[in-house]
Symmetry: C2
Amino acid sequence: MAKRARKKKVAPIRRAADAPVKLTDKDKKTLKSIVGMGDRVVKIAGLSRAPHLDIPSRSLSNVKFNKSKRFIEMGKGTNKRELFNLSQAKSYMQTMLVASGCKQLIEQGKSTSIRGMYYLLKHTIEGTKEETFNEQSECDPVIEDVEVSLNALREELHVYASNRGSIVGNLVFDDSGDEIDCSRMGSGGYTIPSICEPDIIQFKKCEADFILHVEKDTVWRRFNEDKFWRTHNCILTHGGGQPPRGVRRLLHRMHHELELPVYCLLDNDPWGYYIYSVIKQGSINLAYESRRMAIPGAKFMGLRSKDYDRCELTPSVTIKLSDQDIKRAKQIASYPWFKDKKPWQKEIQTMLKNGFKLEVEALISKDISYVTEQYVPDRLEDRDFLD
Amino acid sequence: MAKRARKKKVAPIRRAADAPVKLTDKDKKTLKSIVGMGDRVVKIAGLSRAPHLDIPSRSLSNVKFNKSKRFIEMGKGTNKRELFNLSQAKSYMQTMLVASGCKQLIEQGKSTSIRGMYYLLKHTIEGTKEETFNEQSECDPVIEDVEVSLNALREELHVYASNRGSIVGNLVFDDSGDEIDCSRMGSGGYTIPSICEPDIIQFKKCEADFILHVEKDTVWRRFNEDKFWRTHNCILTHGGGQPPRGVRRLLHRMHHELELPVYCLLDNDPWGYYIYSVIKQGSINLAYESRRMAIPGAKFMGLRSKDYDRCELTPSVTIKLSDQDIKRAKQIASYPWFKDKKPWQKEIQTMLKNGFKLEVEALISKDISYVTEQYVPDRLEDRDFLD
């Protein structure tokens, strides 16, 4: 390895513009939380007590389904993380380091990915051979710890996830100063940004009646090509599989601020059920963000296990359930938010009895545009959704 | 399995609009090729001879690097595919079936994904228990066979790949009747459609001086956030890793029709080298599309193996090469189009000697905007590209 030991130094940067950074109110609030976190440590140290942090626990035992809010949320359990504890010192320091990285980002008016955050903070601690982080997998959970500790979404800490998913439809918004008219977005559509907070995206005009969220870009393209959103006056989104945070946040904001129903068109398989579960109730691992991401009012439009009969599909287009699928389906059926819902129990039992799964694309066997001209219009008419 | 044998029947479809389909000149040409393929079979059968197809061979032995055109292309080798040959009858029939599926798509003015094509054509052959296709993996190569046989890009057959990748910058084009101004695309950008043929995308106005293509959406976001394309008057694209066909085709068209240089900013690892190789010379597997996809004039901007020293990076941000990386690097070094290029040999040898790889994100360790404010501006100034 032709590496030399070298101190990390910040090179002089040629700046395009040394304009002062304009902080949003949200930025100021987040900065205040970060500084407060540091101040508490200083205060405790000033009292000659051992510095520590109380990190809300993200373990399964501290996650529960809130029946009245209808989403997954975190309990009040916390874990103490102490500086003068051999097994906690490193993660204590990592937490402070990530918080300082977020502070730097906000102050500079910039954002970065979780990978970027890792590189920003990774270095050999002076006078030792110890790395601040050995792998990104060490850094990612610490970012989540900082999120829960500060009660700030990752996006508010200026850390972004991947840009995945596209949008078209009868909606106009402002994104970073540009007016985005989603009804004039050609065949490609607008890429849903990874950060969809109100300081970046402001809704300007919405004439749509509802949101149709589909699982895959290929299905989305069929709907866009048929200009479904125009004939049915809606907004059309996809999330490229399990939707990334930006897509979930935008759906959440459109649902609540524009008061639009969200209908999900996903595959009839455990993966499709799970995508719906995350959109609706939030994810177990990121329960703390449910209140700004989960959409308890979202409806599952299909595909349904009964669609094999209802749509008169052929055995050719079915896919046999694997052992893994069966196991996963049973797990999902036992989720607290599905357990007491008879229609969902029936839905999953029917899939298991069928012994096969169905992809949305299977409807193409009826006709290329069956999904846009018959399946979805029929569901919108008969209101046969799963809740 | 609760499946019933059921004949495939086309259900009556409620059509949004039964407008006649307007075929483009390209569509008419492609249709003529497909019909010609069928006519030849009828003619041969009329002469009481055994129907067959001559499919250009896509094997490695029929692929060569054309030194004057500077891209990979197919040779003249073909394989006979006969109906009355037990080992070829199925693939013969599958080929005709895919051709008829493409005909149907073009005539209806619609497009579908390769998964959609599989579902469109999959059925139990009447009076038998035989499926037309058992798996999508049986259908995909047949689509490629039809492409080479008809000398038509997949996009011309109305079959699309995934929508991945985004674009922003000083460019205006028309996409399916909508004017897309890539300089007013906020933080998300325009999703590069999977089909970028001239009947869908028409360039209207371009003031940019060059194209900067980056590997990942997260790096792209840094450049867009810093409005790099505005300060450096360029077009900014990413392809979400190995760029899908739509991105490659759009880059190709912008390079040739708008006469813009293409600079690639990729990771310093064998995967980054390979992405560059595909953008520049085309891929071995899809050699027949090189002339409409490959960009022999594309330049590799970095990251370079010498950047560890040049940018004064720390050992912390290096990633040790795996055995797989080393093997892959040696393979790439022996590609005919890299073999005789001394700078590339030196580049790969330096990486192997370093023993580590570098991601573009590693530059964040210098400063969040080092890549946009120093690294790329320096390369544009010193013109130190690999060709």
